[in-house]
């Protein structure tokens, strides 16, 4: 998928704190703005972002319409063991995107 950008290190030392940055293309339409026809554009936002490390949840963020379009999130994680970092975005209108990146720890 090209609509997601993930920036995470490919390798890390055990116990190292690594930064994970993720950006996804999404309008984050607030549901408060009138469109060109004067009617309110229906809300369409990403409501939840979760990150897992080898399946175990390490970070979660509940979003509101106040998050800017194309939501960007940066957070940190302790590199415990090699495996995959899973990122998942869910939201209005059945929005669901899942991405994985591999990380080698050692």
């Amino acid at each position: 998928m090209t609509n997601v950008l993930i920036n995470a290190p490919k390798t890390a030392r055990p116990g190292e704190i690594v930064e994970i940055k993720a950006l996804i293309l999404h309008p984050m339409e607030t549901g408060f703005r009138p469109g060109t026809n004067g009617r309110i554009i229906p809300r369409n936002i990403i409501e939840r972002f979760t990150a897992t490390w080898n399946g175990a949840e390490i970070f979660r963020m509940e979003m509101s319409p106040a998050i800017a379009a194309n939501p960007f999130v940066s957070f940190f994680a302790v590199a415990t063991e090699s495996g995959t970092i899973g990122l998942r975005w869910t939201g209005d209108q059945g929005f669901l995107v899942e991405e994985q990146v591999a990380i080698a720890v050692g």
Binding site: I17, M28, T30, F32, R33, P34, G35, T36, I41, W53, A56, I58, F59, R60, M61, E62, M63, S64, P65, A66, I67, A68, A69, P71, F72, V73, S74, F75, F76, A77, V78, T80
Partner: protein
């Protein structure tokens, strides 16, 4: 005979109807306080430990970089459980709520938000011991978000 009380009641009702949608379309400091209360409950919030980084002067309210960092060892015994961010004047008081734990190593989150007006932003961190720490920042916004249809 016309009955003045009815007319007054009608006018008062009409005035209320015209005022309500306007006031409902925007969060207020009171709405922010209520939203904070929902998260904190009966707990007391102390200033400190939390650092909220935002540009003091924002040209474009549609994309405002924001970083929240909390002083914490992030060990299983003592860590930040959650970080909440609130605003005063967007249509809704919530900005985001994040759940963290010892697996994060550092209680630092960065994202980009929208601001509809010059206002105060409040970040609240909840620790594993149940304490609440906060920081706030005042931001001046030149071009407000959420107003124009840019599509």
């Amino acid at each position: 005979m016309p009955s003045p009380p009815d007319r007054r009641a009608f006018l008062a009702g009409a005035a209320l109807l015209t005022v309500l949608p306007l006031s409902a379309a925007r969060a207020t400091p009171d709405a922010m306080a209520a939203a904070i209360k929902e998260v904190v409950g009966e707990g007391t919030i102390r200033e400190g430990k939390v650092k909220l980084d935002l540009p003091p002067l924002v040209e474009n309210g549609n994309v405002v970089p924001l970083t929240v960092s909390v002083e914490s060892p992030m060990t299983p015994a003592d860590h930040v459980k959650a970080i909440h961010v609130f605003n005063e004047k967007n249509p809704q008081p919530h900005v985001f709520s994040a759940r963290l734990g010892p697996r994060n190593g550092k209680a630092v989150i960065a994202t980009r938000i929208k601001l509809a007006d010059s206002q105060k932003i409040v970040a609240i961190a909840e620790t594993s011991s149940g304490a609440f720490w906060s920081a706030s920042a005042d931001v001046i916004v030149t071009l407000a978000a959420c107003i124009e249809d840019v599509t």
